[in-house]
Amino acid sequence: MDQILFYAAAALAIGSALVVIGQRNPIYSAFALIVTLCSLSVIFGLLGSPFIAALQVIVYAGAIMVLFLFVLMLLNVESEQQAAGRGGRALGAIAVALVALLVAQAGAVLARVEPGPAPAFDASTRRMAEILFSPQFLYVFEATSILILAALVGSIALAKKDL
């Protein structure tokens, strides 16, 4: 049962990722990215991390993509004439070749990783909180809150019409 769900979600994720990079209209790309994020959330849940799955939907699909959609709709972005046309065919060919090399290399590494039994673990939110607020990650946690503050001030400063 879990297997079917995993493969369905994975197929959906890959399909909508292809739509994201292939579709000419950026708003369709944005909606396809939302589908990808939600299917990734399902996969996170199947990998035993319900907290991260919920967080993926709340933060990524529910907030960041809404931001993307707002900007796309307010700037009234047009469809491109052709989906990929930068620098002609040469750049496209080089890009595909580089990515294929990356995939082949990583695939070779992965083939040496044997699937073995995964130890059962406690992925509850309480455990996550214990780690997040432990001395190991506490400083990073506080630093990210300052990062968000900086991003808030920065994006308002950049997007304001008259400073």
Partner: protein
């Protein structure tokens, strides 16, 4: 719930998503689509983190995913702010139009 095959397949999926994101960054003309491809790459990395966290049995990978999500949110916000300023400046969102530093 020992499903070891998931970890292996999830790693393959993360690889595919990362590769697709990279292709998107290279090949697309619209700045916002490039940003969306970057988000796709970040999600591929997140999936790899979660898969390895599952394989190792610790939660450190998931905590890092939490931080990656926060950084991605901040980066998306600032990136889109930059896009709005660019649009106001040149009235186009084509990446090839912003080549003022070209020699």
């Amino acid at each position: 719930m020992d499903q070891p095959a998931f970890v292996h397949d999830a790693l393959l999926l993360s690889l595919v998503l990362f590769a697709l994101g990279t292709l998107g960054v290279f090949l697309r003309k619209n700045v916002i689509t490039v940003l969306m491809s970057i988000e796709l790459m970040l999600n591929g990395a997140n999936l790899a983190f979660v898969a390895f966290s599952r394989a190792a049995g610790t939660l450190d990978g998931q905590v890092l995913v939490f931080f990656v999500m926060v950084v991605a949110a901040a980066e998306a916000a600032v990136g889109l702010g930059i896009v709005i300023s660019l649009q106001r400046h040149k009235d186009t969102l084509d990446v090839d139009a912003f080549n003022v530093m070209k020699g």
